[in-house]
Amino acid sequence: MSGFLDSLAYDLFPLVWSGIVTGCLYALGALGLVMIFKCSRVVNFSHGNVAGFAAFLVYGFSSGALMSLSWGTAVLLAVVCVVAIAFLTYALISPLIAESDLTATIATLGVGLIIQGATLLVFGADIVSLDLPVPRFSTSLLGLRITGYDLTVLSVAVVTIGTLFFVIDHTKLGIAFRAISSNPFAAEVCGLNLRRVHVFAWVVAAGLGVVGALLIVPTTFLSATTVAAFMLQAFAAAVVGGFASLPGSLIGGIMIGILMNLFTFYVSPEYSSTFLLVVILAALNVFPNGILATVSGSRV
């Protein structure tokens, strides 16, 4: 019995810890999806492809495949490219948003296909590796092995998400964003600029996607499909958190991170997508509007 408890403590806490770390990254991806969904009711299925393309651009700009720049410059350039892509995508589908969110959602799949093809055309189907320039150190704290990578991920995620929540809570743009999310028509009547808020959401989402992709890639290899697969976790996080809730997607991301880690360790790594499917279906049954939804009735 105590052996079991020992192994539990020995395995479980490190698993939960690394689950929290990767969960933050899923949350970054999910926040990008939710930002766009909240204000325009469009699910951006190109999110993962664009983020993956960004990671490839960083690789291409810094490794000599396209240019040989320093890592920081490469990231800056990749962010510029991705923001341009986000802006173009929005410009392309903005006429559709007013007409039907479903049509606009299908259009984002088209954008995703084009970006995916472009990644394959420019970089090929090979697998490359892309590291983060972080100090390689590791320390032991309460039996947990904490690496420089873990701390980088956590601090970047905390700073990014903290900034995002601050902007949404306290700036004019953030207030406009919230107003448009809760009632686009009334917000427009009050003189808010719908397009500016939409562009803000798309650009911020693209930025969050890039951060998430760059941080997740060192744990795996980079291929044309890696980040798109990582996006399934982000989608699952968004569903668990309720697609329209920013704090929900943060909690959903961390939950998915921990659950995935426990599942792959204790059950099987071969069924991870199936497990996510089950989580999504279960979440839809148990919390149709996300874990943070308040139970409310309606009067007829």
Binding site: I106, I114, A118, T274
Partner: protein
């Protein structure tokens, strides 16, 4: 949702107008012409056409969901795989041909479709899209991990003829053709049936549907069941037409491409429209087989082009009509 997804469905009342009759006559001529094709063209052409017919059925299954349910599925490859693997596994285990295994596959498709629509029955359609996407991503690992049944990476062969002794090449052409015609006919009947009208009403005017006693939950689950049954039928027929079933044929890409085919056929539920979508899905990969990376680009561009054209063409038309002299 929006009317743009259903450009023609609103207009046709129950008795058939003259235009629809002409359309129907045209469809009959088209079917007769297709039935005569094997007497003129040979081998590889009839094979490609057989696959096209099967893909057309799959395109129809996605279009039904969009038109009758206002929902998007990015996972119809899963339901096609259910049909395809039913045919292949039943042939391998019990030695039965597609005639007996096809109903099993369709029934499984309907049941699974309902099972997957159920959790999202009360909430916005994006949840259905996301859960079907997860379904499509989970499918290859399910197939590969159940390799005792599914043959794993190598897949399975489908070789049992429907009519013993007859030429297999011809059977692989006519079975998909018959299935496609049957599905297109059934869909035209659905449009005129009570159930079909109730589903359309539940989609376009939920409150009115409630008043008439059609529950939205029923409508969504029924539409998904019909659509997934057709998808499973398409998979069964595809397995027979192409003689193999393997996981590489049923990835997330398959599902996305089926949606592309449906958009390219402008969500049409008629046989000619479905053929356009199916042909697009069959021909583009063959043309671009030398450089696979162009396929997603082509599909993406086609998707956006059709969607944007559908959005802007009516507006441009109205603009031209408003100015008497044209532009």
């Amino acid at each position: 949702m929006s009317d743009a997804l259903a450009p023609t469905s609103a207009g046709s009342p129950l008795p058939m107008p003259a235009g629809a009759l002409a359309m129907r006559a045209g469809t009959v001529v088209l079917v007769l012409a297709l039935a005569a094709v094997p007497f003129v063209l040979k081998g590889s052409w009839t094979y490609a056409l057989g696959v096209t017919f099967a893909n057309s059925i799959a395109v129809l299954s996605v279009s039904v969901l969009v038109r009758y349910g206002g929902e998007v599925s990015i996972g119809h490859g899963f339901f096609a795989a259910v049909g395809a693997y039913s045919v292949a596994i039943l042939e391998q285990r019990l030695g039965v041909s597609v005639v007996l295994s096809l109903p099993v596959g369709v029934a499984l498709g309907v049941l699974l479709g309902i099972a997957f629509a159920f959790p999202s029955r009360n909430i916005s359609g994006i949840y259905l899209a996301v859960s079907t996407m997860a379904l499509a991503l989970a499918l290859p690992e399910l197939i590969n991990n159940a390799s005792d049944f599914t043959g794993g990476y190598q897949g399975l062969y489908v070789a049992k003829p429907v009519i013993p002794g007859a030429d297999m090449g011809l059977q692989r052409y006519y079975v998909p053709l018959v299935a496609l015609v049957a599905v297109a006919y059934a869909l035209s009947q659905l449009r005129r049936s009570r159930q079909g009208m109730a589903m359309l009403l539940a989609r376009t005017h939920p409150a009115a549907a409630d008043a008439f006693g059609t529950r939205r939950v029923w409508a969504r689950i029924a539409v998904m069941g019909v659509s997934c049954g057709i998808a499973a039928l398409a998979g069964s027929v595809l397995a027979f037409a192409s003689s193999t079933v393997s996981p590489s044929g049923y990835t997330l890409w398959t599902s996305i491409f089926l949606l592309v085919g449906s958009v390219v056929s402008v969500y049409g539920l008629t046989l000619p429209r479905a053929l356009i979508g199916g042909a697009f899905l069959t021909i583009v990969p063959q043309l671009l087989s030398a450089s696979g990376a162009w396929i997603p680009v082509m599909y993406g561009v086609a998707l956006l082009a059709v969607i944007l054209a559908a959005h802007f063409a009516p507006r441009l038309g109205a603009l031209v009509r408003r100015r008497p002299g044209g532009v």
